[in-house]
C-alpha cells in the first residue's frame, strides 16, 4: 500500500546525491542523538547534528543548506567516531558546506572569509603565513582590528615573522589552477547533463 504524506518528495534523490559527494549513507541513521549530545559546538547551532541528518534523509535540501549548523561544525569528528551506525556526520557537514558554496548560498559565519584568505595565502606562498592570513581575513570580514592586539606580543616572542616562507610556489599554483579548472569543467558537465 502506498501512503502519500503531503506533497510528493523524492526522498532518495538527496540521500543519493549526498552519498556521491561524501561517501556516507545518511539513511543508516536511526536518530539515537549521540552525535548531538557529544558535539562541542551544539550550543551555537540552530539545527542539531542529528536533525541535520534527519532532514537529509527527508530530502529537505533547502533547510540544511540554509542552516547555521553547517557553518559552525569545526570538524572535530567526535560525532562520526561515536556514531553506532557508522554515519560520517562530519563528512556530511563538510559536503553540505561545499554544496552551499557551489550554490552561492550566503554563509552564516565568518569562517568562509577565513577559508578564502587561507586559500589566497597558499596560492601566494605555498605555506601558511599567519600575519598575511589574519590581515586578509580582517579586510574581508570588516573586523579590521581583530586579533591585532596579539601582534606585538607574538612578534616579541618571535612566534610570527614579518617575512613569509616561499616553498614550491610555482608547483602549488599549478596544482591549484588545475584543480580549479577541473571543478569548473565538472560543474559544466553536470549542467549539460541536466
Amino acid at each position: 500500500m502506498l501512503i502519500k504524506i503531503g506533497r510528493e518528495v523524492n526522498l532518495l534523490a538527496f540521500s543519493k546525491k549526498l552519498e556521491k559527494e561524501t561517501g556516507t549513507d545518511v539513511r543508516k541513521c536511526y536518530q539515537c542523538g549521540k552525535c548531538t549530545a557529544g558535539c562541542p559546538m551544539n550550543f551555537e547551532m540552530d539545527v542539531s547534528p542529528s536533525q541535520v541528518i534527519r532532514f537529509c534523509q527527508l530530502g529537505m535540501e533547502e533547510k540544511v543548506l540554509n542552516s547555521r549548523t553547517i557553518w559552525y561544525c569545526i570538524f572535530c569528528d567526535t560525532c562520526s567516531t561515536r556514531c553506532p551506525q557508522g554515519v560520517d556526520i562530519k563528512g556530511v557537514m563538510d559536503g553540505l558546506r561545499r554544496m552551499a558554496v557551489a550554490r552561492n548560498i550566503k554563509p552564516k559565519s565568518n569562517v568562509r572569509f577565513l577559508e578564502k584568505a587561507f586559500q589566497s595565502i597558499i596560492y601566494l606562498f605555498g605555506r601558511v603565513y599567519e600575519p598575511g592570513m589574519v590581515g586578509m581575513y580582517n579586510l574581508r570580514s570588516g573586523n579590521f582590528l581583530h586579533d591585532v592586539g596579539y601582534f606585538p606580543l607574538m612578534l616579541r616572542k618571535r612566534k610570527i615573522s614579518l617575512k613569509p616562507h616561499f616553498k614550491r610556489t610555482r608547483e602549488v599554483r599549478q596544482v591549484m589552477k588545475r584543480a580549479q579548472k577541473m571543478k569548473l569543467r565538472k560543474a559544466k558537465e553536470l549542467e549539460e547533463a541536466k
Partner: protein, 289 residues
C-alpha cells in the same frame, strides 16, 4: 627507522618551540630523522571545505617529497598527520577522486611509506624503557594533564594512534619521566581552534571549559602535542581569565619540552621563554629547573 620530518606550517611560525625541541630530541636520542626539503602546506582545517581535490592534492605533493628522499614520514602536527594519512588512503585504492587528484598534481605518486606521529615513534619504536634510561632530571611531583585535542585520535581507523576517548600515549611518556598523571575527562575534547579567528568568543568558551576541568582535577600544567591547541590554551589564557574572572595560571607545554626537561637538556634550547603563561615559577618550585 628512517623518517623524513614533516613539521607543518605552524611549527615554522606560531610554534617555533615545537620545531626546535623536536630537533633537539632527535639529536639527543640519535634518531635517523631529518626534515623533508620539499614539504608544502597540508591544506589545514579549511581547504577540505573549499575543494576536496585540491585539499588531497596538496598532501600528495608532500608524499611525493618523501618518496623523492626515500623516507617514511614523521609528522608533528596532528592536522598535517590526518591529511597526509587521508591522502595515502585516497591513493591506496582506485576511485574518481584518486584520478582527479593525480591529474591535479600532474604526476603519478605512490604511497607505500609509513606515516607516524613523533610521539608514537617515541612510545612504540624507540620504547619507554629506553626513554626511562635517559631520564636524568625526573619531573617529580609535577601533576600533568595530557591534552590530545581532536585531530590526533579521530577518526581512529585512519589515525591508528590510540583509544579515541581515553588515549594514554602522552600520559605514559610523562609518567616514564617521573611525572604525576592527572586522570581527567577532557583529553580529546575539541578546543575550538578552528573558530579562534572567525568566532573568537566560541573558542574562548570551549578553551575555558578545558582549562577549568584540568585545574579542577589537580593539574599544575598541561602537556600538549598540537600547535593549534597550544596557541589556543596558552596565548588566549589571559583573555579567558579576564572574561571569566578566574585565575587559571596553567602553563601549557609541548610534550617535547617536558621530555627535554626530563632528559636534562638546556632550558634555553627548550625555549620555555617563548610560552605566554610563564612556566618558570612552577618548575623552580618543583626543583626541576
Amino acid at each position: 627507522m628512517k623518517y623524513g620530518y614533516y613539521p607543518g606550517c605552524s611549527a615554522k611560525s606560531t610554534a617555533p618551540e615545537l620545531d626546535a625541541t623536536t630537533l633537539a630530541l632527535i639529536d639527543f636520542l640519535h634518531l635517523d630523522i631529518k626534515e623533508l626539503k620539499d614539504w608544502v602546506c597540508c591544506g589545514a582545517s579549511s581547504m577540505h571545505s573549499v575543494d576536496k581535490v585540491l585539499h588531497t592534492a596538496l598532501s600528495v605533493m608532500t608524499l611525493d617529497a618523501a618518496n623523492a628522499e626515500e623516507r617514511d614520514i614523521m609528522v608533528q602536527c596532528p592536522a598535517c598527520l590526518a591529511h597526509v594519512l587521508e591522502a595515502k588512503e585516497v591513493l591506496s585504492k582506485d576511485s574518481e577522486l584518486k584520478s582527479d587528484v593525480l591529474e591535479a598534481v600532474g604526476k603519478q605518486v605512490d604511497a607505500n611509506m609509513k606515516i607516524r606521529h613523533f610521539s608514537s615513534i617515541l612510545h612504540d619504536e624507540y620504547g619507554l624503557d629506553k626513554i626511562r634510561e635517559k631520564v636524568t632530571n625526573p619531573l617529580q611531583s609535577l601533576s600533568i594533564a595530557s591534552y590530545y585535542g581532536c585531530l590526533i585520535v579521530r577518526p581512529p581507523e585512519r589515525m591508528q594512534y590510540d583509544d579515541p576517548e581515553n588515549p594514554m600515549v602522552m600520559d605514559q611518556l610523562m609518567s616514564t619521566c617521573g611525572a604525576e598523571i592527572v586522570q581527567w575527562p577532557f583529553k580529546t575534547k575539541c578546543c575550538g581552534a578552528g573558530t579562534a579567528i572567525s568566532d573568537t568568543d566560541v573558542s574562548l568558551d570551549l578553551t575555558y571549559e578545558i582549562l577549568r576541568m584540568a585545574k579542577n582535577n589537580g593539574a599544575e600544567c598541561i602537556c600538549v602535542l598540537c600547535p593549534l591547541c597550544q596557541n589556543n590554551l596558552d596565548l588566549r589564557q589571559k583573555k579567558i581569565e579576564q572574561r571569566y574572572g578566574e585565575k587559571l595560571n596553567l602553563p601549557v607545554l609541548y610534550y617535547t619540552q617536558l621530555l627535554g626537561l626530563a632528559f636534562g637538556l638546556d632550558p634555553i634550547m627548550l625555549q620555555l621563554n617563548r610560552l605566554f603563561v610563564d612556566p618558570f615559577p612552577l618548575l623552580k618550585r618543583k626543583g626541576i629547573l
